[in-house]
């Protein structure tokens, strides 16, 4: 076997493809950074596109600004349950701002302005009560940020409407326990921590803390899960675990992930939106954007010409 080119980048849950496709050269001479096997072949062979895909959120002609600086310009795209939407682009492209506007976290910054419409299940999100919205559209951040409480309390905090029962001594209802265990299962963390849920969350490893944050975000059964570069602070093994988790979760929750890492986007995404300097340059199915990008700018970014 003559491995001149590096081993192929794998899509999650698919058999390793034996042959390697020769790198395609783009018109101005730069070649794609790494050999990227034909995705359509693998999709047929391996990971299925989910049959039932329903639209959960719709972003329509959204403009977002901090002060006088328009960071997101006229972006429209759908967010669907049953698929993973990856927002890719260089720094400053507006992808994190767009993500944060989906659960109205942009409002926390003074001087933020917006135009356009974002709707969740048909309702404009600015008409909903903000905390109710955030329980339906949860977010996981780049840095794992568990609260300084026990593992159980971290997840229970997300669940209780009023004051959550804290600590071991307060009586916990069977429902609460069940809900917490369920969330930990969905986040793939339960087996690792089941022994002692009352120990401090701060003692977990980085990958476990991030999965705890995912469990916390899933606790209230959200309809949409937003992930802002969730693996950038983690080692490759934890990253792989979380990526598999994301792919499994897409069936029950609409997922939007912002990532700097093109390989990660390639591994997990069903639809990809490429943003550049605030504008949505290209939006399409993953295999189309990576293999046959329609726009020059996209080709350049994926080929590593900038970013």
């Amino acid at each position: 076997m003559d491995q001149v080119t590096p081993p192929p980048v794998r899509r999650i849950a698919v058999e390793r493809e034996p042959q390697v496709v020769a790198p395609t050269a783009s018109p101005n001479g730069t070649s794609t950074a790494a050999a990227r096997p034909s995705v359509s072949a693998r999709l047929r062979a391996g990971r299925p596109l989910l049959g039932s895909v329903r639209e959960r959120m719709r972003v329509e002609s959204v403009w977002l600004a901090y002060g006088d600086n328009w960071v997101v310009r006229d972006v429209s795209l759908p967010v669907r349950q049953g698929e993973v939407l990856a927002l890719i682009g260089a720094s400053g492209s507006g992808k994190t701002t767009l993500l944060r506007s989906l659960n109205r976290l942009t409002e926390v910054t003074a001087g933020a302005a917006r135009a356009g419409q974002i709707s969740l299940d048909g309702q404009e999100i600015h008409g909903l009560e903000v905390n109710a919205l955030r329980r339906r559209v949860s977010m996981v951040f780049q840095q794992p940020n568990p609260f300084p409480m026990s593992i159980f309390d971290n997840v229970a905090y997300a669940l209780a409407e009023q004051s959550p029962p804290r600590g071991r001594r307060r009586r916990r209802s069977a429902e609460l326990e069940h809900a917490v265990h369920d969330a930990l299962h969905r986040a793939g963390l339960y087996e690792e921590v089941a022994g002692d849920l009352d120990r401090s969350a701060l003692n977990l490893s980085g990958g476990q803390q991030q999965r705890l944050c995912i469990a916390r975000a899933l606790a209230a059964q959200p309809e949409v899960l937003l992930l802002d570069e969730p693996c950038s602070a983690l080692d490759p093994i934890s990253t792989a675990t979380i990526e598999e988790l994301i792919v499994q979760l897409r069936e029950s929750v609409a997922i939007v992930i912002v990532t700097h890492n093109l390989q990660q986007a390639f591994r997990v995404a069903d639809h990809v939106a490429f943003m550049h300097l605030g504008e949505l340059v290209e939006y399409g199915p993953g295999e189309q954007v990576f293999d046959r990008p329609a726009q020059q700018r996209t080709r350049e970014y994926i080929g590593g010409a900038f970013g």
């Binding site: 720094s91 992808k95 940020n145 905090y157």
Partner: protein
Amino acid sequence: MSTSTPELTSPPSGLSVRRPPRQSTASWPLLDRAGYLLCWATGIALCLIAVGIVLYMLVKGISYLRPSLLLESPAPSLQQSKAGGFLDPIEGTFVLTAVAIAIAAPIGVALATWLSEYGQSSRLARAVESAVEIIAGTPSIVLAIFGLLVFSQSFLGFLSQNAADGAVTGQSFLAAGAIMALLALPLIVGAAREGLAQIPDRTREASHALGKTRATTIRHVLLPSIRSNIAEGVVLGMGRVIGDTAIVIILLGGTLKTEPESGTPIVGLLRGTGSTLTNYVYYNSPAGEGNAHEKAYAAAFVLLMIVLALNFAVTRISGGRGGRVDRTGGSWWRLAGAQGLIRRPQGARESGSEPRS
């Protein structure tokens, strides 16, 4: 791919490990050497002074301290041997400290929380900070006579004792405790604000992203995690309160024994007068009227031990908080005065450092 790097945990035995040598001052210019020696000398001198104070009080105090002194109430008498001990002053110290902290702690924490979470940019917040600074800088005697003025008003008569003709004395544990609370307040506010500033913004952001209001975040995430900071502030405040004499002399009525007012158990005690170790020491010292120097030394020794124990507790509380690097060497400087503590901490909130993308 079978190459594996060998486990490297320490240098192989053939390699000699050299550590950098202690820097010698022999090559320094004369002025630098003189400065270095001066620093050393000052440090040693200060150690000697501190040891001197403790040893002197120890020797004098222990020589005059008998267990009976701690257990007997003062009883006025012409003979010293029948004049009793200082149980009441000890009792008075504890009651006064308890009242002061009971008032200062909730107010201090509430103030710190408001300043930190809600008052980032408002002018009212800056005004409040200045007000706390002014109180922190006011000499305790000034606070004491202010307190006397306030509590002598007739509508506040229920807080202290009323004389037969309706005049209000304005002197009681409650009055003294309320003014003592002002002494402890800046320390508690400072410690709590420091604790809140150390919690990174992303923790608050995580809570908001879960759909929790700011009030819920404060109650269930922020305040529980600054418990040790609040404890540190409280103990610092206690140290300040226990050591103060001016307020006790003016606002506590100067009765050697604790004299509760009118029968009702706790309220009567709080409205009554008494003494604390500080004014007992003053009273019995050569400057006071009691003329029992030995008892003054013994009481001063007990007082010093209490304050040292509190200092030790502060170090334990703040040191046990995950070993943050504290170049200022602990909290001793806060005991000297609370100036500058309630300014917005310099190394302020570590806001999410992720670049916007």
